[in-house]
Symmetry: C2
Subunit: 432 residues, 2 copies
């Protein structure tokens, strides 16, 4: 395998894999250090994952939640971007192998995030819709709209309902948010577009295996989210799993069935990392790291963000897979690199909890901030504000804000476009 | 073939094919007439074609130049939309055949616009990039950016230049606009993204077979456009044709060659219509119509917009294929339908010339308005104003305006994203 062309340097080379929240923050903070920073990502853009569900439900354009990595990281002068899939790691040789060649590193940082976990269920993997990448969100948007076009000319009553129905699996933030957004589409938008259809036939069902929604948040917020969802016309079924899905009928764990052409799978994620690491470092699909984010059994390999499994007294099961954890770990690891390079002692990571939140729809969100459990309009305002300031790229902030103002006052969602028709064989599957 | 489901009616049914400028305007104006209006389009959105080149060159998001047809035409209550490709027409049976079944009509209106004309050149059709549809613009955007990623790691000098070079064929408005936009990318944006590349190697060449640019406009405007393009670093070669293009080298009519991975074909369009019409009605790829837009040899079949070839004393070669002609013909035909339905005399179409214009880049455009030939900043302001008021959908106006303000003041183009990697076999070819 040939070498990936890179300027030769006598400075240590830090190779970062993944331009998500953790990777971007780390690279930015390495700006003035005497190192060469090389970032690999299979895409040339950063994805603002918290708003993917709005792309899938025609509220935002994909380009407004993506930001070009080169532009974002242009001010970092010791920085080199290479767009490529990383295949494997050879820690014993300090080497990674990628689709464009191999690269030696002095330090390696895995910031590869998470991918959808289907828990080995082949039928759901084949026919359900994951929601972790922009092309997946676009496929889902096309699929939903194409189903309404088909329902509109369907002559068979059963087919008609099945094309209108939507099932969402997983009562975490993504599941709740996408269910709420589908409720808004049903209530405010689709009946205007399809006056020939009877929307009384359409059901939106959110399935959750647990006995409550939003397990990562307070019980008050879980209950509120449930109440809001029901207000938006979503049927929430707790303690209900889906066993299999053939693209037409979802078979439930309790023996029931739901006819639907659209099953959205938001029931789990797992770490997303290249081959080649020590087996002992992998635990439940994530990489075990010490309080300095060093991967177990490796000296110069680090992991930050969703992929890193750092347990502590406060988080015995590892830190939550949330953007603030990723951002803080990126910042912290950059600090530790400063300490390493100047021969000082590394410092242990300590998460500053910034709370968590989920939005359900128009004027309705839930937020846990410290001991405060906020709901309704206030939580919704906080949610919007936090997301607007977090989204990467100033242009994106303007475009997202414009869309939100538009959506709010007109009860409209403007991007209900089938720009590339979704054809099952062309769909974007979950990539490694 | 089964029937396309439609409500039965005792009113005359007007079937319109194509939701471009002409089709949309016609349908809107048929609003209160005692007819049933059925619109077919293969997409569920209208495309604002004049700004496609900005999508291809990372200045605008695709969703901002597309508007959902159902939303746009929701106020028309006697209106039914069907998303489907139309295969053929059987005028003797007053019938059209589509991918979702067949439909009888009382009146048929073809508003199917134009498609790229490769003039039978197979090699250019296989390897060149047309620019008439949103997926094509997205493919081109991806292709250009992927080439820069590849150039960045190229070790062969010849490959490197070839990946950076761009050739545009055709000196009409599209060719001039895309060449100017590429010049802006080269001057202001790409060098920041790719500091490792030597942009002295990159050439942008505009080829035109004629001895001047912008044949449809005044000579003064053609000369100005040439001057502006050279200012933006574009090499303009007049009196030069391209003979063939294998994806790597363009062979020119004068015996020269240009190495390039990107050849954009903007050298011609032709009418885009289903099979089944009288042969005598077809002339140079367009449909001959009388002054009432009725297709030659057919009583109840009309054609409006780019596809209609209506010659007059003023326009012996037919009206120009421009948005204002399409819009005015749509309006006019709606009026004539009123006359037909009330038994009155139809009126002949008369084009109100609103001038024509083309933009080259930042602060530089040309406009012919009556006898005025405007250039530079003033023309550029007029161009922006006209396009903003013409673009369909208020949300789109806001988003396009926000992007333009952003691009202007930051010298940035925000959407340089490879959202779906362009793989040659996946590319969107010109569709019939």
């Amino acid at each position: 395998m040939s070498q990936v062309p890179l300027p030769s340097t006598d400075k240590p080379r830090i190779v970062v894999i993944g331009g998500g929240f953790a990777g971007i923050k780390l690279v930015k903070r390495l700006k003035n250090l005497p190192v060469q920073v090389v970032l690999f990502d299979r895409n040339n853009y950063h994805t603002f994952q918290p708003l993917l569900y709005q792309v899938a439900t025609a509220g935002l354009e994909p380009d407004s939640i993506a930001d070009p990595l080169r532009k974002q990281l242009e001010p970092v002068k010791n920085f080199f971007f290479r767009m490529a899939e990383v295949y494997s790691i050879e820690p014993e040789n300090n080497l990674i192998k990628t689709e464009i060649g191999e690269v030696k590193y002095d330090y390696l940082v895995l910031a590869t995030g998470s991918k959808t976990n289907f828990f080995g269920n082949e039928s759901i993997m084949q026919n359900g819709f994951p929601l972790k990448q922009i092309p997946q969100a676009l496929d889902l948007r096309s699929h939903i709209l194409q189903n309404f076009e088909a329902a509109n000319i369907a002559t068979d009553e059963k087919e008609l309902a099945s094309r209108m129905n939507v099932v969402i699996v997983g009562g975490g933030p993504t599941g709740v948010e996408v269910a709420g957004a589908m409720g808004e589409l049903k209530n405010n938008i689709l009946p205007g577009d399809y006056p020939e259809l009877d929307f009384g036939l359409m059901t939106i069902t959110l399935l959750e295996g647990d006995d409550r929604l939003l397990r990562g948040m307070s019980e008050a917020s879980g209950k509120r989210a449930l109440k809001y969802l029901e207000k938006f016309g979503v049927k929430v079924r707790l303690n209900t799993m889906v066993k299999s899905y053939d693209g037409l009928v979802a078979d439930l764990g309790d023996g029931g069935h739901i006819s639907t052409h659209t099953l959205i799978w938001a029931a789990g994620v797992k770490g997303n990392f290249p081959k080649g690491l020590n087996k002992e470092s992998i635990d439940k699909g994530r990489l075990l790291v010490d309080p300095y984010n060093a991967v177990k059994g490796h000296d110069n390999v680090f992991a930050i963000g969703d992929i890193a499994m750092m347990s502590s007294d406060e988080f015995p099961q590892g830190h939550p897979m949330l953007a603030p954890v990723a951002i803080q770990q990126g910042e912290h690891l950059a600090q530790n690199f400063k300490h390493i390079l100047s021969g000082k002692q590394k410092k242990a990571f300590k998460y500053k909890d910034q709370g968590s939140m989920a939005t359900v729809g128009r004027n309705k969100a839930v937020a846990d901030i410290g001991n405060m459990k906020v709901g309704g309009f206030m939580a919704w305002l906080i949610w919007m504000f936090i997301h607007l300031i977090s989204i990467i790229g100033f242009r994106n902030k303007i475009i997202v804000f414009s869309n939100w103002v538009w959506n709010y006052f007109t009860y409209d969602k403007g991007t209900r476009l089938i720009i590339r028709k979704f054809i099952p064989k062309n769909r974007i599957k979950e990539e490694v």
